[in-house]
C-alpha cells in the first residue's frame, strides 16, 4: 500500500539538471524524506518530503535529474510523466520548483524555460549562488525574473539564503497563474530535422537574448580551478592521480578502521561473556551466544569499513571527481564494450551491486545498460569485504609488498578488487563481441564544476550506507545465523562415538550428522579440488542466498567444534578459531594461504546474492538475465578458486 498524500496539501515538484544541488535544496526545505520508494510500474526512485508553511502542508516531490523535458532515458520519462500527473498516487503538481545552477545559467535555463511550457506555476531557485558570487558572476535576479515571467530566488546552501523566500513563493505561486512560455522563433526545417532539434536551437537563441544584460560576460581568464582540472584530467598525471586516489582509499580503510573495529569487537565480547554468565548451560544459552550474538557481532564489526568507503565515495562525488573518473576511464571502458557512463554504476557496485545496477538507468543506451548490469555483480561489494578482511588479516603474512609503506595484506585486498574488475572487463569484452554486437553508443556527459563537498551530504551518505547495511543485511544475517545455528544443531546425533571420547569429538560428530553437515559432505567432492574441507563447503553453500552470512556461518560451524565455549565472539575470536581448525582426524591445518586465497577468489567472483539477481530480473524485465548472471559467475568462481589453490599449492605458498 502506498500511503496517500496529505489531504488538502499542495504538491510541489522539484525539477533540475543532475548535479545542481537539487538534493541539498530538498533537505533544506523538507528535511528527511517521508516516503522513499519506486514509482509504480517503473524502477525509478521516488522521494517525497513534507513541510508546513503558514499552516499549509506542502508535499515536495523530488524528480530524477534531467537535462530536458524531451525524455531520452527512463529517469527523464518519469520527470515528464509526474509533471503531467500521469502517476497514480502522485497528484498533478500545483507548482514546479526548478533548481538552476547559477554558475551555469544558460544550460540550466534550457530546462527551466521548458518548464514554463508545462502549464503549471513555476518558481526558479538559483542554486550555488554563493559559488557564483565567488567567481564574480553577477546575475540581475529581478530582471531575470521579469524576463522569465516567474519568480526567481537565489539559494545558497551554506548560509541557508533563500530557503524562507522559496517557501513563501512556492505557496503563493501554487494558487497563481502559470507563466507565459518563452517566445521561440522556430525556423522551418528544410533538411527534415526533428522538432526537438529545431526547438533546441531556437531555445538557445532565445536564452542568449534573455540573458543579455542579465549576466556579466562569461569568464575567460584561467583560474585555480582550471589548473586543478587540467592536472586531474591530464592523460598521464590524471591517470596516475586516479590510481593513487583509489589505492589511497583502500590503504586508508585499512589504517583507519581497525581501532573502531576493535572497540566494537571488545564491546560485543564483553556482552557475550556477560550473557553467557547469566544464562544456564543449555540450548537457550547456545542459541543466544552462538547464534544471535555471534551474528550481531559479525555484522556490527564491519560497519566502520562500510561507513569509511561511502565517506570516500561521497567525497569524490561531492567534489566532482567521479565525472572526471568517467572521463578518464571512458576509453578503457569503450575498449571492453562499455562506456564511461558505466563507471559510476560499476563504482557504486563496490558498495553494493543493487544500487549499482539501479544506477545503470542513467545509461540511455539499452545495450550499454544491459552489459553494465551483467558485469556489475563482479565488482567486490561491501558484503565481500568482511571475508577479505578476515582471511587477509589471519592468513596473509604480515610484511610489506615491495614498497615499505604498502602492507602485503593491503596489496592482496587491492588485488581482489582488481580481480573483479579484470574479470568484468573480460566478460564485457566477450559479451560485446558475441551476444551484444552492434554499433558504438553515444557519450555526452557534463563535467560538473569543482566544488567543496558538503559535509552534511557526505556524512548522510555514509550514515545511510552503514544504517542500511545494519538494517537490511544485518537483520538478514542475524536471522540466518539463527537458522544456521538450528541446522547445525539438529537433528541430534543418534549414535555418539563409542566411549564418549573428547568433548570436541562429540561436537564434531553432532555437526557431521546435522542437516548442515550432511549438505556440506554432499558437496565435499566438488569443493575438495579448491582445497576446502566440508565445513567451508557448508559455509559457501549457506552463503548463496546472501554472502553476508558467511562469517556467521563459519563462526557457527567452527564454534561447534570448539571446546572453549567460554571464548568470546567477534572477528578476532573467529580468526583464532579458523587458525586452529584441522582436517578431520589429522593435525593438518585447514586454512593455509592457498586455501584462504581460494575462498577469497570464490567469493570475489560468485553470484551469492539473491537480492541482486531479483533486481537484475526487475531492471531487465526478463528472468533470462539473472539466470545467465548466476550461471556464468558461479562457473567462473569455481574455476578461479581451483586455479588459485592449485597454483598456490604448486608454488609452495
Amino acid at each position: 500500500m502506498r500511503p496517500a498524500m496529505t489531504p488538502g496539501s499542495l504538491t510541489v515538484a522539484l525539477l533540475g539538471n543532475p548535479n545542481v544541488g537539487k538534493s541539498t535544496l530538498f533537505t533544506a526545505l523538507a528535511g528527511i524524506p517521508t516516503r522513499v520508494g519506486n514509482y509504480p510500474g517503473v524502477t525509478v526512485e521516488e522521494k517525497i518530503g513534507r513541510f508546513t508553511h503558514h499552516g499549509q502542508a506542502i508535499d515536495l516531490v523530488d524528480l530524477p535529474g534531467t537535462y530536458s523535458l524531451v525524455p531520452q532515458s527512463p529517469d527523464e520519462r518519469v520527470a515528464v510523466d509526474v509533471l503531467r500527473g500521469a502517476f497514480a498516487g502522485v497528484p498533478r503538481p500545483d507548482c514546479i520548483l526548478v533548481v538552476a545552477d547559477a554558475t551555469n545559467l544558460a544550460r540550466n535555463l534550457f530546462l527551466a524555460t521548458q518548464a514554463l511550457e508545462v502549464g503549471l506555476p513555476v518558481v526558479v531557485a538559483l542554486s550555488l549562488a554563493d559559488v557564483a558570487d565567488r567567481r564574480g558572476l553577477r546575475i540581475d535576479v529581478p530582471e531575470l525574473s521579469r524576463r522569465l515571467g516567474c519568480p526567481v530566488v537565489r539559494f545558497a546552501a551554506p548560509t541557508g539564503e533563500g530557503v524562507g523566500r522559496i517557501r513563501d513563493l512556492v505557496l503563493t505561486a501554487s494558487s497563481g497563474q502559470p507563466p507565459r512560455p518563452l517566445d521561440l522563433e522556430r525556423s522551418p526545417a528544410p533538411d527534415g530535422r526533428p522538432p526537438a532539434a529545431i526547438d533546441a536551437i531556437a531555445r538557445y537563441v532565445a536564452i542568449e537574448r534573455l540573458l543579455e544584460g542579465v549576466t556579466g560576460a562569461v569568464r575567460v581568464e584561467t583560474t585555480a580551478e582550471d589548473r586543478i582540472d587540467a592536472l586531474l584530467t591530464h592523460p598521464v598525471w590524471g591517470t596516475l592521480i586516479f590510481a593513487g586516489v583509489m589505492l589511497g582509499m583502500f590503504a586508508a580503510i585499512f589504517w583507519l578502521a581497525p581501532p573502531l573495529m576493535d572497540l566494537i569487537s571488545s564491546f560485543m565480547d564483553g556482552l557475550s561473556a556477560l550473557v553467557a554468565r547469566m544464562l544456564p548451560e543449555g540450548a537457550v544459552r547456545s542459541l543466544v551466544v552462538d547464534g544471535i550474538l555471534a551474528g550481531v557481532s559479525s555484522t556490527a564489526v564491519f560497519v566502520p569499513q562500510i561507513a569509511l568507503l561511502f565517506l570516500f565515495v561521497a567525497l569524490l562525488e561531492g567534489c566532482g571527481y567521479l565525472a572526471r573518473a568517467a572521463f578518464l576511464m571512458d576509453r578503457l571502458l569503450v575498449g571492453v564494450g562499455l562506456s564511461g557512463k558505466s563507471f559510476i554504476p560499476l563504482l557504486s557496485s563496490f558498495a553494493c551491486a543493487i544500487p549499482g545496477i539501479m544506477a545503470a538507468r542513467t545509461i540511455e543506451s539499452r545495450r550499454d545498460r544491459l552489459l553494465t548490469i551483467l558485469v556489475a555483480p563482479l565488482m567486490s561489494c561491501s558484503a565481500r569485504l568482511p571475508v577479505y578482511l578476515l582471511l587477509c588479516g589471519a592468513f596473509v603474512p604480515d610484511r610489506a609488498a615491495g614498497v615499505p609503506w604498502l602492507p602485503l595484506k593491503a596489496a592482496v585486498l587491492a588485488g581482489l578488487y582488481a580481480l573483479g574488475v579484470v574479470v568484468a572487463a573480460a566478460v564485457a569484452w566477450v559479451l560485446s563481441r558475441t551476444l551484444f554486437r552492434g554499433p558504438q553508443q553515444p557519450f555526452v556527459m557534463e563535467l560538473p564544476g569543482w566544488r567543496w563537498p558538503r559535509a552534511g551530504v557526505v556524512f548522510e551518505r555514509s550514515r545511510e550506507a552503514a544504517w542500511s547495511f545494519l538494517g537490511n543485511a544485518g537483520t538478514l544475517i542475524v536471522a540466518l545465523s539463527i537458522v544456521l545455528w538450528a541446522l547445525g544443531h539438529y537433528p541430534k546425533p543418534a549414535v555418539l562415538p563409542a566411549g564418549g571420547g573428547e568433548v570436541a569429538d562429540v561436537r564434531g560428530e553432532a555437526l557431521r550428522q546435522s542437516f548442515l553437515g550432511r549438505a556440506g559432505r554432499l558437496v565435499e567432492p566438488l569443493v575438495k579440488p579448491l582445497g576446502w574441507d566440508w565445513r567451508i563447503g557448508c559455509a559457501a553453500l549457506a552463503s548463496f542466498p546472501a554472502r553476508e552470512v558467511v562469517l556467521a556461518t563459519l563462526g557457527v560451524i567452527y564454534n561447534l567444534g570448539d571446546v572453549d565455549t567460554e571464548s568470546a565472539d567477534g572477528a578476532t575470536a573467529l580468526e583464532r578459531r579458523l587458525k586452529s581448525a584441522r582436517w578431520d582426524g589429522t593435525d593438518r591445518p585447514v586454512f593455509t594461504l592457498p586455501v584462504a586465497l581460494s575462498i577469497m577468489v570464490f567469493f570475489a567472483l560468485c553470484a551469492q546474492c539473491a537480492s541482486t539477481l531479483v533486481v537484475i530480473g526487475r531492471e531487465t524485465g526478463s528472468w533470462i538475465w539473472p539466470a545467465v548472471t548466476f550461471a556464468y559467475m558461479t562457473a567462473l568462481a569455481w574455476l578461479g578458486a581451483f586455479v588459485v589453490f592449485q597454483a598456490g599449492t604448486w608454488l609452495g605458498w
Partner: protein, 76 residues
Amino acid sequence: MTASLDDVMVGSTVRVQDVSGGDAVAIRLLEMGVTPGVEVRLVGKAPFGDPLELELRGYRLSIRRQEAARVAIGDR
C-alpha cells in the same frame, strides 16, 4: 570539406556551424548547448585521445571523438 570538432588542437576555440543528423545524439548535443554559433574551447583529451573535454556556455562537457566528428566548425 568543412572541419569538424574532432580535429581541433587542444586549447583552441572554435565556432560551431552545425550538428549533422536528427537522431538522439544530435538532439542531446543541441540540448546540451552545442548549437550553431556557439563558441567551444577544446580543454583537453582523456588518455588515448578520447573522449574530449569541451568548454562552452561557461561549463564543461565531455563527448567522444565520434560525436565530435558530427559537429561542423568554422573560424571564430
